[in-house]
């Protein structure tokens, strides 16, 4: 007892000595140096050489235009980007001036106090007027702009032309047709999934919800409320989850699959259809089904309509702590310029964020046509709230889909539970 009393005393002394956990001073820098070294972090892609070439040519022009400046670029691995960027926010002294980041992270990084508000510079940039609205939305939080869109990624329907020909099937024009076609294929070819779907494939499932008029959340700025349990959203959830089952994609296998798993299943010939991105093109080309597939926009509810797709992609942003703000913004504009995005498409196949550039490249490359059409029809974005990161990492939506497909909960109960969790996250993120 004596010992524990002493311990309590020691603890009390310690508790009063230290007031709060550490916080780094990440206020915006008051310096704006016009010379010196700029540090840039870009993502390391699977086949990074073409990206490096595009970036290098931009840097050469930039260094020529600004005397006594020097740029060092580091390509950071995508898997560890979250830790690297958090570390950069924690330690402004060793942080870069300009970073590439995933567009679903925008609101979170803004709340963390990491990104600089560049609304003015973005507004004055003449190329920015051609930025498509969803891409613009993906850099905007509470009406302020925190970066420049770098490229977009969007998903569409991949299907096996040979299987469709042999079975005499037409490409589905509505979601109802899509579901019945998938089941027909599985009946005729039991070793194949009609369409490969995944319980953990949130961005493949969202177009079904959006096509039925549902939403992830409604509201603006600070006050979002989940709409995943609305009547329209439930219809979409029902449509998507009806694809899990022994008549298409058995729940025992498909409930746990994510986006990559469905694309792998398609590429290896185990599925007659799949929802894949423009960025999945290379993986499918490298698979068994090369030359035996085509891509169309994912159909909506009405015949001839296109289901709204999720507009993924990356942005470039200037860090709040930079001491070279003017230079960093200029470099950002050059890296995300129409010319550079066009070159990035040539090299990497990443879709430009400018509507006009996108149309130009679609005319040249046939495979991007369905993706560009999808982008032109309607795209949606995740709520611009810092809560999204929490909703995403605590797997709220995959859990909801998996509860339904495994028969643990009905659509109504599962979506109500998910809505509750989302609202909690929105509430605590403020």
């Amino acid at each position: 007892m004596k010992l524990s009393a002493r311990l309590v005393a020691v603890a009390a002394v310690l508790a009063t000595a230290a007031c709060a956990p550490q916080t780094s001073g990440n206020s915006s820098s008051d310096k704006d140096e016009k010379t010196g070294t700029l540090r840039v972090w870009l993502f390391q892609e699977v086949n990074n050489k073409p990206k490096e070439q595009v970036v290098d040519s931009v840097l050469a022009a930039f260094e020529k235009a600004h005397e006594d400046t020097d740029v060092t670029v580091e390509y950071i691995p995508v898997e560890t980007r979250a830790q690297r960027i958090k570390a950069a926010f924690n330690d402004p002294k060793s942080a870069p001036d300009l970073i590439e980041y995933g567009n679903t992270d925008t609101a979170g990084y803004v709340k963390d106090g990491g990104l600089a508000d560049i609304t003015e510079e973005f507004g004055a940039w003449d190329e920015a007027k051609d930025t498509d609205p969803t891409a613009r939305q993906s850099v905007t939080v509470d009406g302020k702009v925190y970066g420049a869109p770098y490229f977009v990624g969007v998903r569409a329907l991949y299907y096996r032309t040979d299987v469709f020909d042999e079975l005499g099937l037409d490409v589905p024009k509505t979601q109802a047709e899509l579901i019945s076609t998938a089941k027909e294929i599985h009946t005729a070819r039991p070793e194949m999934y009609g369409i490969a779907v995944g319980g953990a494939y949130t961005y493949g499932a969202m177009p079904f919800i959006w096509a039925h008029g549902g939403e992830l959340a409604t509201g603006k700025g600070g006050s979002y409320a989940s709409a995943i349990d609305s009547a329209a959203s439930r219809k979409g959830i029902e449509a998507y989850t009806s694809l899990f089952g022994d008549d298409n994609c058995p729940a025992a296998k498909c409930a746990g699959m994510g986006g990559n798993d469905t694309v792998t299943a398609f590429a290896s010939g185990k599925a007659a259809m799949a929802i894949g991105g423009d960025f999945s093109h290379a993986a499918v080309e490298a698979g068994k089904v090369k030359g035996k597939y085509a891509v169309v926009p994912l159909p909506g509810v009405e015949a001839g309509s296109i289901a709204p797709a999720f507009a993924g992609g990356n942005n470039l942003g200037v860090l709040k702590s930079t001491s070279h703000r003017t230079l960093a913004v200029d470099l950002m504009k050059r890296l995300a310029s129409k010319e550079a995005q066009g070159a990035l498409f040539e090299g990497m196949g990443f879709l430009p964020t400018f509507s006009d550039v996108r149309e130009q490249v679609a005319a040249k490359e046939a495979f991007v046509k369905p993706f560009v059409e999808t982008l032109a029809a309607d795209t949606k974005f995740v709520p611009a709230s810092a809560a999204w990161a929490r909703i995403d990492s605590s797997l709220v939506l995959p859990t909801m889909f998996q509860e339904v497909v495994s028969g643990k909960k009905s659509v109504a109960v599962a979506s109500a539970d998910a809505a509750k969790k989302m609202n909690e996250a929105f509430g605590s993120a403020g």
Partner: protein, 329 residues
Amino acid sequence: MTGPESSGALERRRVRVARGFSRPRGGSRTFNTAPHPFQRRSSTPWLYLAPALVVLGGLLAYPIYQLGLISLFHYTQAQVSGGEPTTFEGFGNYAELFRDEQFWQVLLATVVFAAACVVCTLAVGCALAVLLTRVRAVPRLALMLAALGAWATPAITGSTVWLFLFDADFGPVNRVLGLGDHSWTYGRFSAFFLVLLEVVWCSFPFVMVTVYAGIRAVPSEVLEAASLDGASQWRIWRSVLAPMLRPILVVVTIQSVIWDFKVFTQIYVMTNGGGIAGQNLVLNVYAYQQAFASSQYSLGAAIGVVMLLILLAVTLVYLRLLRRQGEEL
């Protein structure tokens, strides 16, 4: 360690009965019988202890203190990088945690799963340790090497390999058992069972090697006497080996409890981050998902503190029970 114990056990027990349970906390038996040499200059022992205390303080006490401190604040990435001010929440994080229904479900699953893992690990480890003493040199070497191989395999590699063995489409287990494309990770219990197999596989070698070393130190006359009396293998284990190996068994049990309660990699890899709809979540994976992956450091710290307290409680209760039974540790 068992030699002196067996000879002096009787005498010691008598001493303790006389003293009851008022044994001083210092634990040294000379303490009471001889005048203490350090009593006049009480700072000397602290001087000798200082290096160890400094290291322990720096590596153990300070992080735990920080963990406890962070758990009392609202502390997310925004606070770390200075985007928002840090606010004191008191026990708000704990309240949020205890209100969460899923936390209680996960806690229950963790306790049951860890208990099953501990029991299986100890059973397999002890059985194989006894087996090791009964077989010839070549099979013993083979068993040792196999166990060491399992021990040396990183958890993530082991998990991936087990997952592949039980893969629905390409796994050899399904092919051998003729199960077609049965998915082992779909059902809650079958997924937990799969993970249990992996956990037992990678943690039994520690138990086996430690217990084997203990059995080797048991005087062979004792075992000989037991077999001369006609005791079966099970009887020898129960009445001779287990009591003599008690201190070792205590250590491996506590180790296993702590390891299996904190299991992360196996669940994370084999059930793809907690299984279908989170049915295979254990506390550590839950903490990671709810807290660290989304930078809710204060909530994560609260979960950490709760885990620490549970483990401390389990260990203390266990030690207490053993002490009641009159065992020296």
